[in-house]
Amino acid sequence: MKRYFSRKVFIYILTFFLAVTIDWLVPRFMPGNPVQNMLSRASIQSDAAEVMRGYYTKAFGLDVPLWQQYLNFWQAIFHGDLGVSVYMFPEKVTNVIFRAVPYDLALLVPSVLLSWIAGNKFGAFAARSRWLDNTILPITYLLRATPYMWLAILMAWSLGIVWGIFPISGAYSFSMQPSFSFAFLVSFLRHWFLPFASLFIVQFGGWAIGMRNMIIYELEEDYSHYLESLGAPRSLVRKYAFRNAMLPQITGLALRLGQVVAGALATEIVFSYPGIGYLLLQAINNQDYFLIQGCFLFIVIGVLLANFIIDVVYVIVDPRTRQGMEGT
């Protein structure tokens, strides 16, 4: 187990290192001068522009040797300094991002967990059932393949515009200030529902398909046949198969996280939901490189943390890793 963890942690450190390096490398080795690009697109008054030019030239530190730039970059990261945003000048990138993160969590955590549980349950239920396999499962294939933003757009259009049931923009009504009042909570939930639901549905399809295929493998495993030979009822055979099929699904969760995050970014854009995705869109439109870099780092860190949590859960659930064996 120790070996299992130390390996994983090593990979995470390596990943973080690689991510930071990419973050540093890209602006420096892409064609064009980032500072110039950035300022030419940002619509700001000329006196502010001078201040910014001075700041960013120094911030990118383009005047020192490359290795020095690289070390400086790391140093800044360890000081929690991700630079200053252009689009929200002179706010710090970290502050801008910290304000957005809660909205991401509000969408991602429930949609990931609930769709994982519901999708797995449904997939297990549908496996080896001829009529479900021919009716509902084909739909889940489509769901798995549906671009997140398209489902979001469809839902916004049908439930938001055509039927007018849900608001389709923002995290709460524009006329409100965040507070712990009941009215605010209702407004928040109404704004939250559509982005959450569209994320939930697409992910649900993926898990259902995955579980269906996985459990069919498990039901054909030797241990399932042995139980059947000894007259164990279907419920016990299924229970074992389900439990064992869950394990790869946990690993799958870690592997698919990146995709889900991407989906959430696109979904936030559709609903103007003020999470990192929406922020990113603004950053891209305003060529706000520091903000883009910051979002990138945050996304990577978030995914790494989630991966770590999943690893811990996996060790708790799969006895083989605890017995000093290598996990899958």
């Binding site: 294939y141 393949a145 515009i161 995709q259």
Partner: protein, 287 residues
Amino acid sequence: MEPPQSKEKNEFFYFALRNNKLVIGLIVVFFFLVFAIIGPFLTEHDLNERAGPRNQPPSAEYWFGTTTFGQDVFTQFVYGLRAAFIVGLVGGGLATIVGMMVGFFAGYHGGMVDELLNMLTNTVITIPKLAVLLVIAAYLTVRGVIHESIVIGLWSWPWAARAVRSQTFSLKSRNFIDMARMTGMSSMKIIWTEIAPNMMSYLFMTFVLQFGGAVLAAATLDFIGLGPTEGISLGLMMQHSFNWSAIQLGIWWWFVPPGAALALLVGAMYLMNVGLDEVFNPKLRER
């Protein structure tokens, strides 16, 4: 004894043609492929030209309606479909090839080589692909569909590598590889003459998945605003319709076709993948 090659192939077609999932998937993909190839010849309009009145719903003249700028949605759609196939083939193909090489070497050599490559694979797989694409795309001022595909392909290989690696491991433990080794063939030769043919089916399945993944990744990238700076794609169509308030104005013909095509095309790919799995793996066949 291995059965003779020709017999094996017949058996493949025998089961393939009787697998509904595979057949339906193939038909859908083929349908879109034909659409993408001949579609542009069915329209007399140019991509961005003002083809008619604004915001026209679908009609006999404008099959898929027109956009807020009076562009013909059908024209954009068929060119967008072409772009989707290009991204799928180039991005998915590249990912499969790179993944195949990495996976082969890791699985075949084992030991240190495997450790290192495996570490690289796990590292790359953990960093969200879209995030990297974002950073790269954000700094590229001129972007084309091919650039996009290459970047996507180069960041998608770990999935293929993992699959190929474990497959190589299991094939390697079979006797014939030992025999090849005893006869003194070089490792490259063993890979190409012994392992690769056995894995063609598996690779094809991997490619099918990678194709779907690349198409979806490109669509998301396009929608965020980091797609090709020239030309059209299905993701760009969605982005444009969204940016010009097609949702609020109810111009559904602008955003429904591109998303539906993506879902159907990629869904058909996934369906094919499961179908192929069942064909190659008798245990999974329907009862």
